[in-house]
Amino acid sequence: MINGSIKLLSSIFGLTLVFAAAGSTPAQETPKPAPTAQPAMPSPGKPFPKIIPAPKVFARVGPSGVTEKSIAVDGRVNVTIPCITQGDVKINGWERNEVRVFIKGGSPVSFTVKQKSQKSDKPVWILLSSFSKEGDMPAGHSDCIWGEEIQIDAPIGAEIAMKGRETNTVVDSVRKAMVTSAGGDLSFRNVTEGVSAKTYEGDLLVENSQGPMNLETQSGNIVAFGAAPGDVGDTFRAKTSGGTISLQKIEYRQTEANSISGSVLFNGPILGGGSYTFNTTNGSIRLAVPSDTACFVIATYGPGGLNSDLPLKASTVDVSPGPVKTIRGTLGTGGDAVVKLTTNSGAILIRKQ
């Protein structure tokens, strides 16, 4: 009796479930969304076995606002990006003779070939913008590129020229970089033939790079680590108004660092025949140099004073009462390098490395 009741109840429950499932099922099954296009991102450090010829223009627009385009170019191409309004920009050098642009959650992108090589007939100068022709651009739209994430891969021999508005930019492993940004941090690594960078609000970082350096920020810090000239006569120049300048392992004979309300830190060798100028209005100057450093020092300072771990043989001393005091003298055996240190209200410290 009891078993029969249980079986009856089970069958009723099962039938109810079947009908309920049948009523909720749609007539046609909705197709599953396509997986998000993942860009093929070769790591910049790993070399490719051989240079793969790229297609002339490859374009793909993903379903979630992802744009990807590439173009075959000359190995020493100049990539000009006249306008990026916002986004995190990553520019990587790779060993393909190809420029690839990947934009996530932003504008379309197009290539305009400005010049081709007569030898290889490949572009040596291309321009990146939202629309290649004015007629393609909808009314009210800008020609600028923008996006949450902007990745550009270019040949390691490429030269990058970029202007941005609100962009945090990282440039890695290219030949030359010229970046100007109205706001945002700029970072450069492994650039072989020079960096010219300016941001009006943000920090500047240069690491393991060669060539002439011209770094300027309005209200941010400048950090340079492991930079050296590519050619004889290359100079290093860093300037900030409201930040600290920190230079380590800088091997330029012409080095200049200028700040207004920040400190200047230099840690590295003073090379023979070099000219080193470090100025700050309202900060300190700290030099950490090898103990066998030989150079001529001109130190101008205010109430902060001058303190040196290395013996400084003064030749001219002007420490009369007043806002400015000057000491001229030699470190070590003198030599033909000249180091000018000027601070209005901070201290000058010379330390052993």
Binding site: P82, C83, T85, S142, C144, K163, G164, R165, T180, A182, G183, Y200, E201, Q218, S219, K239, S241, G242, N258, I260, S261, N279, T281, N282, T300, D318, G322, P323, V324, K325, T326, T342, N344
Partner: protein, 293 residues
């Protein structure tokens, strides 16, 4: 022959061609027959030859032409026009005060003028409470200018005259009213023109060009700062500008005290350059942002 000889004056006049034709004919006939007069004529000719030889250079100079006389007359006219105003007035008075009626009228006019001047000077004290008087307010330098008007702050560091008037007689309400009014005055203060700065201060060599450049840049940048800079950027800018202004002030004072202090001069020039760079950065950023639209 003719026993009546001519005197030396007649002979000299004959030699100079100053005699009338009749007299000259008579003298000619006489000299031809009279040895004495012919000798006198020969002596006179020798003397004339000596004198002409000595004065040859003088006689060869050009005589003033009509054009030269015109120029001389013009110069005299110009010189007359250049006579100072008070000189002309003095000449006029000396020429006309001889007339008693004119002297009486001038005296009456002077007395009236003095009376009017005294009356005019008394009037501001009597109406000092009228709110439209902006002079009866504290010095501009004593009032912190609003942050948004950094142009005036920039200019305050430059050498210029400030107005300082005692405010002890004002009531609290008046002082507040005047303070508000003074803020308005600060907001409308025109930047000191380079010419004014030049006239009010002496520059060390090379300083003037910096000051001129800064004055012109300050004018052009003052409006751009509010639109182009974000608040954090603006704070940083104003801080750096204050640091630079302070440095300029201290170094300028030092150089004034000790003009041979080359280090102070060098720091002063560097500070000026920093200020120019700061001002330039505003214009450059505006240019960049405009190009990115």
């Amino acid at each position: 022959m003719n026993t009546k000889c001519y005197d030396i004056g007649i002979i000299q006049a004959f030699l100079d061609g100053e005699l009338s034709s009749d007299l000259a004919a008579k003298v000619t006939n006489h000299i031809a027959a009279c040895d004495t007069c012919s000798l006198a004529l020969a002596d006179a000719e020798e003397e004339s030859a000596v004198v002409f030889a000595a004065l040859e250079s003088e006689f060869n100079t050009l005589v003033p032409t009509q054009r030269l006389w015109n120029r001389i007359n013009d110069s005299i006219t110009v010189e007359k026009q250049r006579i100072p105003f008070f000189g002309k007035v003095w000449a006029f008075l000396t020429a006309n005060l001889g007339s008693p009626s004119f002297a009486v009228a001038a005296s009456a006019l002077i007395v009236f003028g003095i009376f009017a001047a005294v009356w005019t000077l008394r009037t501001p004290q009597q109406i000092s409470n009228v709110p439209a008087v902006a002079v009866n307010s504290p010095s501009i330098a004593n009032i912190p200018a609003p942050l948004v008007n950094s142009a005036s702050q920039d200019q305050q560091s430059e050498p210029k005259t400030t107005r300082t008037v005692s405010r002890t007689s004002d009531t609290v309400a008046e002082v507040r009213k005047n303070d508000r009014r003074e803020y308005q005055v600060v907001n409308t203060v025109q930047p000191v023109t380079p010419k004014a700065v030049i006239n009010n201060a002496g520059y060390i060599p090379g300083e003037e060009s910096y000051v001129k450049t800064i004055a012109s840049l300050s004018q052009s940048v003052s409006d751009q700062k509010d639109t182009i800079m974000r608040p954090s950027e603006r704070v940083s800018y104003e801080r750096d500008m204050a640091v630079v202004n302070d440095s300029i002030k201290r170094m300028r004072d030092e150089v004034r005290k000790n003009p041979k202090n080359d280090s102070a001069k060098q720091v002063l020039y560097t500070s000026y350059q920093n200020k120019i760079d700061l001002l330039n950065s505003v214009a450059q950023k505006e240019e960049l942002v405009a190009s990115l639209k």
